[in-house]
């Protein structure tokens, strides 16, 4: 372990909340929202790998790999959905999709 775990956590936190801020702000473009989600997932992976290195346990790495697999399926579905929605309304602005409104 080369650096204290806290530093890794702070870095991961910074990345995660930067991604979150971007996710909140980029509501006009669904692609960018997905990009921001990738950033957040990356931060989670960093925590998992850091933990794995800290305690010498392979489970953290395995979870990082799981997350990666999960991300790839998520991204493929999400992008298919973006295409679908774009086909419906010719836009990727999420504010124009308010079907959930009661």
């Amino acid at each position: 372990m080369i650096v204290p775990l806290e530093h890794i956590l702070v870095l991961a936190g910074l990345l995660f909340f930067l991604g979150m801020a971007g996710l909140l702000t980029w509501r006009a473009n669904m692609i960018m929202m997905l990009v921001c989600i990738e950033v957040m997932l990356n931060a989670v992976m960093l925590v998992a790998v850091g933990g794995s290195a800290r305690w010498g346990n392979a489970d953290g790495q395995l979870f990082a790999i799981f997350i990666m697999a999960l991300t790839s399926s998520e991204v493929s579905l999400a992008l298919a959905m973006v295409v679908y929605l774009h086909r419906r309304k010719r836009t990727v602005d999420t504010d124009l999709f308010s079907e959930l409104k009661g």
Binding site: M20, L23, L24, R27, M33, T94, D95, F97, S98, E99, L100, K101, G102
Partner: protein, 629 residues
């Protein structure tokens, strides 16, 4: 006896029910026959009861109200007074029913009319024959309801329906006082039987008796149209004329007099109450007589004359002269029914023209109406030797005998009223039947021929009215039949005065009556007639004041109706709409606004949900940081 009494009541009730339930399906003739037949059947039963009558009887038929101590059985009490009244009611109402057959010959809803008329008689008979106060009150209210329905019989016209409502509401004021008195009497004496109440009366403290008497007087004033509750009767002319006749002569307005006479042993022990009764009667008699002098509607003249005559009866009760009051009640029933039916004939003949100034000269055209009408006029005016003369004089004599400054002044007021009565009665007669015909009115319409049944019913009434004096001749002409018959009833004790005094009083009364006749003759029959009529049609200030009944209606409107309407409007607009509705609507609006706050967050957009999520994360983390540090 028990059977006769039951039949007297049940026959009109059955007739009313038959006409009400299936009258529309029956042929017109059958309905009319049933309606008239049951009344005459009741009259026959009353006659049979009279022939079998020996002593007062109480007949109990069943239990009606019975709760703990409170008992009000269906019990009838027949004594001389109620027997005579029953005879009079059934006879006069029978004639009125016959007359109605002719008068309402073209009316479409005859079933409703005759059903109500029969029920009216039934209610009045219940009132007269009841042995206890709740049953009497039942009849009392029944009379009120039937009068309401009959006054507003032609309810499609707003005016008539309003008159009906007015009668109902004004009499309701008196009924409330009467109801309070009934309950109070039960609390005091623990019984509702009239005979027991009269027997137990001396046990009650005098102050309570006075208040009870005043309450009963208010009740009687409401029903009998005495001051200050007299306003409904002139408007009650909106109903069909036979209904007016029935209300005025036989059934409704005499109920107050009957009640006071019936409860006289109870209330008679309080001089204050008696004075109040006498003053009410005297003032009403005078007030109505002045109003009658200025009316131009034939039926309104008769209405005011009824108020005036009932005032005399109340005055008689107040003077303790129950026999005289009952005597006047009888003769008044005959001649007032006669006058109303005669007026109905005139009105029918002139195509529902009621303005006396549009009449005139009918004597030659309607002789069959003129002569009976003249008989009625003589009675009403107290013309010497007519029935009305004796009965009115009996009352005035009793008031005079009573002595004291109050009763003496009331006697003088009564004499003045008698003068006015004679004046307005002959004024009516002269204007309507004498003089020149109003050609403009007559020629375009022509007189309608009257059904025979309408004129023939006037004859027995005229005979009874004129000869009614025989029933109770003054003492100097032999003892009166009624006085002897009533003598045994408590409270109906005979008045004793010297023959000389009585002769002098009768002389005065005759002179007054003749003076009124002379005044009217001089004013309406001489050369001045056309000028006087023109002046009266134009109307001077005093004339209009009297014509509007001293503006009593306006006084009511000013004192009660307008504040009430204003209060109601305030409660409606101010309290109900502004405060209550406003508060509720405001609350609903506030809730709606508040609901908009969270609902603004449910936009259905992804960004909003994400903001919520991020906010939650931030809040939880901030809490953790705060809790750890």
């Amino acid at each position: 006896m028990k059977l006769y009494l039951a039949l007297i009541l049940l026959l009109p009730l059955a007739g009313g029910l038959i006409n009400a339930l299936i009258g529309r399906m029956l042929p017109r003739k059958v309905g009319e026959t049933i309606a008239c037949g049951v009344i005459w059947g009741a009259f026959s039963c009353a006659l049979l009861a009279y022939t079998n009558f020996t002593a007062p009887v109480t007949a109990e038929y069943g239990s009606w109200l019975s709760t703990f101590d409170f008992k009000a059985p269906i019990a009838l009490y027949l004594d001389q007074f109620s027997l005579i009244l029953t005879l009079m009611i059934t006879f006069v109402c029978g004639l009125i029913h016959l007359y109605s057959v002719g008068y309402m010959g073209e009316e479409a809803s005859h079933a409703r009319y005759f059903a109500l008329l029969n029920l009216f008689v039934f209610a009045m008979l219940v009132l007269v024959l009841a042995a206890n106060l709740p049953l009497l009150y039942l009849g009392w209210e029944g009379v009120g309801f039937c009068s309401y329905a009959l006054i507003g019989f032609w309810y499609t016209e707003e005016k008539n329906a309003t008159a009906g409502r007015k009668a109902f509401i004004v009499t309701r004021i008196g009924d409330t006082a009467f109801g309070i008195a009934i309950i109070w009497m039960f609390l005091l004496f623990g019984t509702q039987s009239i005979a027991e109440l009269n027997f137990l009366a001396p046990l009650a403290p005098p102050g309570v008796i006075t208040v009870l008497g005043i309450l009963l007087l208010i009740g009687a004033a409401g029903k009998s149209a005495q001051l200050p509750l007299s306003v409904w009767l002139p408007d009650a002319m909106a109903g069909p004329t036979p209904v007016s006749a029935q209300i005025h002569a036989a059934t409704m307005v005499t109920a107050g007099v009957y009640l006071l006479a019936r409860m006289f042993p109870l209330i008679g022990s309080s001089p204050t109450t008696l004075a109040a009764i006498a003053v009410t009667g005297g003032a009403t008699a005078f007030y109505a007589a002045t109003c009658a002098c200025a009316q131009r509607d034939l039926k309104r003249i008769l209405a005011y004359s009824t108020i005036s005559q009932i005032g005399y009866m109340i005055l008689g009760v107040g003077a303790g002269a129950l026999t005289a009051a009952g005597f006047h009640l009888l003769t008044h029933a005959f001649f007032k029914a006669l006058l109303f039916l005669g007026a109905g004939c005139v009105i029918t003949a002139l195509h529902h023209q009621q303005d006396i100034f549009r009449m005139g000269g009918l004597r030659g055209k309607l002789p069959a109406v003129y002569w009976p009408f003249l008989a009625g006029v003589l009675c009403l005016a107290g013309f010497p030797l007519s029935g009305g003369f004796f009965s009115k004089d009996a009352i005035l004599g009793a008031v005079f005998e009573r002595g004291g400054s109050l009763y003496t002044s009331l006697f003088l007021l009564g004499l003045l009223t008698a003068l006015l009565t004679a004046f307005y009665t002959f004024r009516m007669l002269f204007i309507v039947f004498h003089g020149e015909a109003d050609n403009a009115n007559h020629q375009e319409n022509g007189e309608r021929t009257l059904p025979l049944v309408m004129t023939i019913t006037l004859v027995p009434l005229a005979i009874l009215g004129l000869g009614g004096g025989v029933l109770n001749l003054p003492a100097y002409l032999g003892e009166g039949l009624l006085a002897r018959f009533f003598g045994s009833i408590p409270g109906f004790g005979a008045m004793h005065s010297s023959h000389m005094e009585e002769l002098i009083l009768q002389g005065i009364a005759a002179a007054v009556s003749l003076l009124g006749l002379g005044l009217a003759w001089q004013r309406y029959m001489g050369v001045q007639r056309s000028g006087v009529l023109a002046r009266e049609q134009a109307g001077s200030k005093l004339f209009i004041f009297l014509q509007n009944g001293w503006y009593l209606d306006e006084l009511y409107r000013l004192l009660f109706i307008r504040p009430f309407v204003r209060l109601a409007r305030f409660l409606w607009k101010g309290v109900d709409e502004t405060a209550i509705d406003g508060a509720l609507e405001g609350l609903a609006r506030l809730m709606g606004r508040l609901a908009l706050l969270p609902s603004a967050w449910s936009t259905g957009k992804v960004a909003t949900s994400l903001f919520g999520l991020a906010g939650g994360v931030a809040a939880i983390l901030a809490y953790c940081a705060w809790a750890l540090s």
